[in-house]
Each structure stands twice: as structure tokens, then as C-alpha cells.
């Protein structure tokens, strides 16, 4: 949440920017922002170990009155491997935000539509 405008603040982090940090740094960077009410959009995804660490750190930071945890959504993309012979899914974008702000309305493999709750007002994102 941006304190000057009371609007939703969204931070977009490139995979290059993220990969220059250790797993612990990445996780605390995300949790700090989300705990502050911000939405974090990451190019690519976290590793399974980083996801587990993210959940663990979130649980430590939960404060029943003000911070109830996070919501995570991913959009996948096809990646060809073995000289174009096989396809597998990889994470294209990861969106992480405060659970009391994010509300996924519709999710398909290549489409995500969300509503962000901002107190009395609301913002939609597609």
C-alpha cells in the first residue's frame, strides 16, 4: 500500500534482478514488501525450496490482527526442450500479495483476472 496515495503499490521484479540474490534475500525481499501491503510480480518463478521458505517465513511474520498471510498465483508458459520435440510448462509470471488484498476471480493456464480489495474501494487487474 502506498502511504501517500492510499493506492495499491505493485513492484515488478525481473528474473535478472532476483537471481543476483540468495534464496533467503529473495524471500525476505518479497515478504517485506507484501507485509507492507504491496503486490509483487516476479518474472519467472521461485524454486520449490524457495516456495517452502516463503511459506515458512510468512508463517513467522503472521500477526493475527494486521497480516494474515499471502496469496500466490502463477501463470505458466510452454517451453520446448529436446530440440523442439517435447514441451513442458514453466512459470512465466508469479504474483504474490497480501491475502487480505488479493482475490483471484478467474484463473486459467494463460489468463488470470484479479480483484484487489482496497478497503472501501476496489481495483481490478487483468
Amino acid at each position: 500500500m502506498d502511504s501517500n496515495t492510499d493506492g495499491l503499490k505493485m513492484d515488478f521484479l525481473s528474473s535478472t534482478a532476483l537471481n543476483s540474490h540468495t534464496s533467503m534475500e529473495k524471500v525476505s525481499m518479497i515478504v517485506d514488501r507484501v507485509k507492507n501491503g504491496d503486490l509483487v510480480v516476479i518474472e519467472g518463478g521461485l524454486s520449490p525450496e524457495e516456495e517452502a521458505e516463503l511459506i515458512e517465513t510468512t508463517m513467522r511474520e503472521i500477526d493475527v490482527e494486521n497480516f494474515m498471510g499471502i496469496d500466490i498465483y502463477t501463470l505458466e508458459k510452454d517451453k520446448t526442450a529436446f530440440f523442439g520435440l517435447s514441451k513442458k510448462k514453466t512459470v512465466g509470471i508469479t504474483i504474490i500479495g497480501p491475502a487480505n488484498v488479493m482475490k483471484a476471480v478467474k484463473k486459467k493456464s494463460n489468463f488470470l483476472s484479479m480483484i484487489a480489495n482496497l478497503g472501501d474501494s476496489g481495483a481490478s487487474m487483468h
Partner: protein
């Protein structure tokens, strides 16, 4: 509709002994962890298995999410048969979630103070469940077949099991309920072993035990 197939007692006993023998292999110590969302039926299944195998339940079952707030461990689940003693551990973990809202507990009649206390305990339980991933040798990922299986918690658990090379079986639970759709779980996780069961009624548990033999030995 529930189909219950009953076997003669001596055959049942032999069936479980065979399962144990295959599960344990050559003196391998097995620690089977139950993972999944809150209220997916982990404790009901753990109770079903310990009742089948040692004749007593492992933990309390409740309608309230996060009833299991710490890891329950039934050590040395032992079956003696024909002079052979078989031994393993069952580990029932709290449900893994990315958020906990104490207000959800108010719906179940808890006071605000109790609900907040339960929420705090639930966060500790989730941390404990994640830590136990380092210590289990096989996992049953229990998914409520009436719910959307494609959740971040399920994806994170599966990703971690794959990364750590821990064998697992996906249990599509609650197939006794009319809204259960185990096919959705097959389609979302086609590359993994999925067994539809009703832990509550014991339906299809024999198939689950056989799948465990294949995956865990």
C-alpha cells in the same frame, strides 16, 4: 454409492502382512508423512491406517480447520506375524496453507481470544510440517476431491517432494461425497500416482496400500 468389499479375517491379516513386508523391504526404516491442506482428511486417513494395522487411532478428527496443530508421530507401528516383526513410523502433519485468518475459526463457535490463539498455533504447526519434509521417507499427499486441487500449497508440496526425491502418492480423498471429482485431480497431476479413496468409510484403501508398496519400497 459406497462399495465395501470385506475379506475373511485371516486373508485380511495376510494382506496387511504382505503390505508390510513389501513396504519395509530390507530393514529399511520408513517414515510416512501425511501432507495436504487443512481439513483434507489427513488425520482421518492416518487413523484409518493405524486402526487397520495396530488397532488404535493416531489423533483427533474435527470439522474445524487446523485441528491438527502439531505433528503427531506414531512411532514403531508394529505388526507381529509368524515370528516376523515389522516396524515403521506414521507422521501426521498440520495442513499447509499460505494464509491464516483467525476470523474463519469464529464460524465454528470459538471465542475471539480462542480463535486468535488457534491461528497463532496453526502458524507454528505449518512451520513444523515444512521442517518434517527433511525427515520423511515417503509422503501421502491428501487432497479433498471436492475442492480445486490446483492450489499453491499442493504445488509447493509436490515441487519440494520432487526436488528432494521423496516418493509420494496423491490421495484423492472424500470420494463418498456427491461433489467429489477425482478425475480433476488425475487431469491436473497426470504424471503422478493418484488413488481415489474415502478415508472415512475405508473405500478403496486396499488400492492405496498397494500403491504405497509400489512407490515406497
Amino acid at each position: 454409492m459406497i462399495r465395501v468389499v470385506s475379506m475373511p479375517r485371516f486373508l485380511t491379516r495376510k494382506f496387511y502382512t504382505d503390505i508390510f513386508n513389501k513396504l519395509l523391504g530390507k530393514n529399511k526404516k520408513l517414515k510416512i508423512g501425511f501432507y495436504g491442506h487443512p481439513n483434507s482428511g489427513k488425520t482421518t486417513l492416518a487413523n484409518r491406517m493405524t486402526n487397520d494395522w495396530i488397532g488404535k487411532p493416531i489423533g483427533l478428527v474435527s470439522e474445524i480447520p487446523h485441528e491438527t496443530r502439531r505433528v503427531y508421530r506414531q512411532e514403531h507401528v508394529t505388526l507381529s506375524h509368524d515370528g516376523v516383526e515389522l516396524d515403521f513410523d506414521i507422521i501426521d502433519t498440520p495442513g499447509i496453507a499460505t494464509k491464516i485468518d483467525y476470523k474463519n475459526f469464529l464460524k465454528f463457535g470459538l471465542s475471539e481470544i480462542e480463535a486468535k490463539e488457534r491461528a497463532k498455533e496453526a502458524t507454528k504447526g505449518i512451520i513444523e510440517a515444512i521442517k518434517w519434509l527433511d525427515d520423511v521417507t515417503g509422503v501421502l499427499l491428501v487432497i479433498d476431491a471436492t475442492q480445486d486441487p490446483l492450489t499453491q500449497a499442493n504445488i509447493t508440496i509436490i515441487g519440494n517432494l520432487e526436488a528432494r526425491k521423496i516418493p509420494f502418492v496423491i490421495v484423492a480423498n472424500k470420494i463418498d461425497l456427491p461433489s467429489a471429482a477425482p478425475d480433476r485431480i488425475y487431469s491436473v497431476f497426470p504424471q503422478h500416482t493418484v488413488v481415489p479413496i474415502s478415508a472415512l468409510h475405508g473405500e478403496n484403501t486396499a488400492d492405496l496400500y498397494q500403491a504405497m508398496v509400489k512407490r515406497f519400497r
